[in-house]
Symmetry: C2
Subunit: 251 residues, 2 copies
């Protein structure tokens, strides 16, 4: 059975721990979790220091991007180090053993449970010899995995910021407008869901509707007049312009 | 049984026709559809001219906002006129009979079928006497309906533009980045779905993750360096700023 050590206990680290500590396909040998005071959690040895790491097949680094280099440099000299970052290249890893990337494309919140089997994993490996190890590790969590180089992965991460972080901010603006006007935010849920579902059937280009696409100047101006928050107004204008230009370009 | 005439055959009009022509709770007496050459469609009389409208209980105007005034002024003098616009006030109606609003909060595309029973309807009526008619009409399509005045409805429509039209544009940017980098857009679907689902359990404020919220300057700069399209870059900056300010304000 594949033996791995997990380094990190943030949003991603905690969810990986939950999944792998209960896995029959992977044996979690150690968990570096500095905020956990007990030596054992769910049968896994918890350690506080990198120097306590024992040699194992793979070290999974669920760490902030800026810590990957330094931490990887302190790993045991055997075994493959895998980082989990969308935007960092493979060669940010400074360990002496194998190097690879194990990037799950999802937004993790500690409060929210995770269905790993629906999450796509993006894999990269310095050496072909490690392909089967990486695939075995991915399969322990999800049937959806893809091989991808560092350049593509960075672009995918940028795309993910748009469809996840930035979309969530648009939801935030919707919630804010509802709250200010004494409307339950939940009335927007069916629209939010349909918008997310529609784009999986039509392309976003076909799915676009609304005053910006229709170039309905009267409504656009009325909306701007009735937006009090200058930042929301600015975003309304920028996004409207972007939509208008997209459909201009197509004429 | 409630008798209604439907005016308009655009995205919304076509879907309302499909639903009401098959309804056992509402009798569709006439459909004004200028692009349909036959005098009858699914048992409903199709007309080409407003002057062909016969008196009925309610006239539902599924029309572009700018046509509501002119068309409503030409309606028969009895019966209630109902417009279906989010951003137009009740008093844009110029008919002599009753006036009301029947606004379904959803984005309609002709290509995509509609589950009206999941859509919330927002109702407004000039006279209390028409409340039961409007509720009966709403119930013929959906159990979710709310009373709301014109001022609130305009704000709700602005919120809908953010969570639907603008969100769809962010999906479009995601699709564009994927296409340019030879990545199937479908790998983003689980993330799009989770983002839409999460906001229904956590608040958008709690659900926010990513480099903008974390103020991860190194990643933000790397993403901007690797975005070629100036408009995408501008939106990335604006949305990042908006997220950063939101979490600043909370400190």
């Amino acid at each position: 059975m594949l033996k791995i050590a997990l380094i990190g206990a943030g949003n991603l680290g905690s969810h990986l721990f939950e999944a792998w500590s209960a896995s029959s396909e992977v044996q979690l040998t150690q968990w570096l979790n500095r905020s956990y005071a007990h030596p054992n959690c769910k049968g896994v040895a918890v350690i506080q220091e990198l120097s306590s790491l024992a040699p194992t097949d793979a070290y999974v680094l669920a760490l902030p991007d800026r810590e990957i280099s330094t931490v990887s440099a302190q790993l045991p000299t055997t075994g493959i180090a895998l980082h989990t970052s969308g935007s960092m290249p493979l060669d940010v890893l400074k360990n002496q053993g194998g190097k690879g990337v194990f990037y799950p494309l999802q937004s993790f919140s500690k409060k929210q449970s995770v269905a790993f089997d629906r999450i796509p994993f993006f894999l990269e490996s310095e050496h072909k010899a490690h392909h089967s190890l990486l695939e075995q590790l991915a399969k322990s969590l999800s049937p959806n995995f893809f091989w991808m180089d560092s350049k593509q992965r960075l672009q995918l991460h940028i795309a993910a910021v748009f469809v996840n972080n930035f979309t969530n901010h648009l939801y935030q603006i919707g919630a804010d407008l509802c709250e200010k006007n004494n409307i339950p935010f939940s009335v927007l849920f069916p629209l939010i869901e349909t918008t997310a579902a529609k784009v999986q059937q039509l392309s976003p280009n076909e799915a676009q509707t609304g005053p910006a696409r229709r170039k309905d100047i009267a409504i656009l101006e009325k909306h701007l007049q009735h937006l009090d928050n200058p930042q929301q107004k600015e975003l309304y204008q920028q996004l409207t312009l972007a939509i208008q230009q997209q459909y201009n370009d197509e004429l």
